[in-house]
């Protein structure tokens, strides 16, 4: 059954994965899956596999905002509960043991996505749901689901247009919420989503050009749905080769999934990016390598004498005889009141 499932069908929500690696040259990831319903299993699998690679390369959960629009692992239609597989014959369970989903189910909306990007979040939002990036963070945004020419569908009921996305990135730039941004999108006609970007330091990759559909990879007969999309499948294979110290650069990522394997033509856009892609390491975005310096100077402190140590306060207990006397008093009063004949029941 080599039929591949086209992503252009107007159905189901989108799973988006927002990966933020932030901090001093650390990366932040936002991974968004915007698809809902069981037969969009592959979008959730796409997102989770990118999430998994990124965690393996060292980015902690506090720096990842993961948005999944539907729950595939515990879906009642899943024949293998608590798993999400990315490869036929169930070779790789990308759900794993420590997946932390920040926005789930109906919380994945265009409004929440834009709020996360621009930072206009109500003050009561917990830290794990915020994008805590600063002007030195490299951000990776990965989105997948169903899309069209200039829009991406969220939850089967709303859309985000490429202009809104470009404006959101511009606001991030104005507030210096990122140092460099890598945008990867795996939908039909994905290249239309990055056409309108105009802020500096953005690099974008898409799985297909305008007018082309992105196709899914292979169905699994046991689970009954298509497990992954082609582009993300080959990207995942590429990322499995990377370790935190590797020196592979972005030009290699652009070569992933040529037309012979992917059927669609992946595209990329680097004109807004200041550095040459061949000097940009994959680990700049997917992994997290912090800048460190050796501490060479110390200050001198005087040793304080121990005269000022306060005695530790122990808990106060009443003296032992007091408790004994109290009980004796109670028993005496009891026998006085009710008579001495009860004593034989006690002693």
């Amino acid at each position: 059954m080599a039929a591949t499932y086209c992503l252009g069908r107007a159905s189901i929500a989108l799973a988006a994965l927002l990966l933020l690696s932030f901090g001093s040259f650390a990366a932040s990831q936002i991974e968004v899956c915007t698809s809902r319903f069981w037969f969009n299993y592959r979008h959730v699998a796409n997102t989770l596999s990118v999430y998994r690679s990124v965690k393996r390369l060292g980015i902690p959960d506090s720096h990842i905002v993961l948005m999944l629009a539907d729950d595939m692992a515990c879906n009642p239609r899943n024949p293998k509960p608590a798993t999400v597989f990315s490869h036929k014959n169930m070779e790789l369970n990308v759900y794993g043991d420590d997946v932390e989903v920040d926005y789930r189910s109906y919380e994945v909306t265009v409004e929440n996505f834009l709020r996360v990007l621009t930072g206009r979040i109500p003050p009561s939002t917990p830290r794990s749901k915020r994008l805590l990036s600063d002007d030195r963070s490299n951000i990776l945004i990965y989105m997948t689901g169903h899309g069209g020419n200039g829009f991406l569908k969220f939850q089967d009921s709303e859309e985000i247009t490429n202009i809104e996305l470009a404006d959101a990135f511009e606001q991030m730039w104005q507030k210096r919420r990122y140092n460099e941004l890598l945008f990867i999108i795996d939908t039909c006609q994905g290249a239309s989503m990055y056409e309108r970007f105009y802020s500096p330091n953005i690099m974008a990759l898409a799985s297909s050009q305008v007018g082309e559909d992105s196709l899914s990879h292979q169905p699994d007969p046991a689970i009954g749905v298509h497990l992954m999309d082609r582009y993300t499948f080959y990207v995942l294979e590429f990322l499995e080769e990377i370790n935190p110290a590797s020196q592979t650069n972005m030009n290699d990522l652009f070569q992933v999934c040529p037309k012979s394997l992917c059927v669609s033509t992946p595209g990329h856009r680097t004109d807004l990016f200041q550095r040459d892609p061949k000097n940009v390491l994959i680990t700049d975005f997917f992994g997290s390598v912090r800048k460190v310096e050796i501490t060479t100077e110390t200050i001198s402190l005087q040793q304080y004498s121990e005269m000022e140590s306060k005695p530790k306060l122990k808990d106060w207990h009443p003296p032992g005889g007091f408790i004994l006397g109290l009980w004796a008093l109670i028993i005496m009063v009891f026998f006085k009141t009710y008579g001495i004949k009860h004593m034989k029941f006690i002693f």
Partner: protein
Amino acid sequence: MVPVTVVFTRESVPLDDQEKLPFTVVHEREIPLKYKMKIKCRFQKAYRRALDHEEEALSSGIVQGTGREAEAMLAEPQEQAEGSLTVYVISEHSSLLPQDMMSYIGPKRTAVVRGIMHREAFNIIGRRIVQIAQAMSLTEDVLAAALADHLPEDKWSSDKRRPLKSSLGYEITFSLLNPDPRSHDVHWDIEGAVRRYVQPFLNALSVAGNFSVDSQILYYAMLGVNPRFDPASSSYYLDMHSLPHVINPVESRLGSSAASLYPVLNFLLYVPELAHSPLYIQDKDGAPVATNAFHSPRWGGIMIYNVDSKAYNGSELPVRVEVDMVRVMEVFLAQLRLLFGIAQPHVPPKCLLSGPKSEGLMTWELDRLLWARSVENLATATTTLTSLAQLLGKISNIVIKDDVASEVYRAVAAVQKAAEELASGHLASAFVASQEAVTSSERAFFDPSLLHLLYFPDDQKFAIYIPLFLPMAVPILLSLVKIFLETRKSWKKPEKVD
């Protein structure tokens, strides 16, 4: 503007120059930034003659090493406002300073400079004073570091990228990592050490923000990197290239992102396991680092504490280890100073710098920090307000609520006030005003109600409204035309008849 008071003692300058005292000299410098912006840096020097008690103090004391004696005498309660400096000019042959030193910078906003008996005395001394004043308050690289976001990018260097961004408060976490509790039973008196060493330092810095300190002990927490064995010294080492990979595996266990919204600084003390003891950090030349510690900008620092091998003799595992908190705190406080950007200033040549006070922070270092922070806050508040205005100009559908508007007004007023205070040299109020400006502008910019989802692209207008209204509009238009034609006919008819 930095107000400097220059005090001349009796024999420091020629007599006829002394007659000219007191007067004021202003020294201005312009530092160019990008987009044709400039910052004017003004040093206002008020010259005066020394008072009697100052003469006494300066002629009798001797600056010895740390100069504590002279300082004690000069430290009469001159209520020096924040940001101001006092420079004492002493005679050329005075023994207050060691022979080859021309000047001395003390820990409390005072400095001592040698005078000169020369016709151009005031000019020469003036130049020396400006050099010292710059070292103690503002120099171009301090401003460049503060404005790093707003300067062109070719000015990167490690010093400028290191300091923390200005924020209202900071959370400092001290963690003890013990990967091998079976061999080491580690105790550290962190509460006492914080009380004795860290709290005074933070109290000195309290103007710059609210600080909260906590500590924890983590067991079985490994570093993510395997150290290598060096047979020459029979010790293990970590070289510089593996250091960046140490932090991330540990960070997820630190729980640093749990509670507050303030930036968190983590200081880790790692006691290596028995199999990997002793463990040293090697710098790029292969020599072990004296402090055995490294730090990461905007994150914190890690120090490796090796257990003394004598502790193992004869006793069974686990060995009780009492951590020497003084050594540890020396390193941590030095790292904290670096992380805050309180680096060594560029002192002019032949200048003696006194060591920091027991709190670890000199008063004028705090002033330097406050100058830099005020400038940074002003720049941030200005760009935030400008980008908010640009955003509103571009997307006209956004509704501004009243509280957002009032925040914007407050922010603008605070920016103006901060600029005025900076120009007149009142550092404390300028800093407070700049912090208020930043808070108000951030609150206005990040207000949740400003989301621009009301975006109305033209093609959506056509796609939605035309199919809705066009079919309805056609019969209306046709009937309007019909009415008009009929009315015209009825006008024409009476004319014809008549």
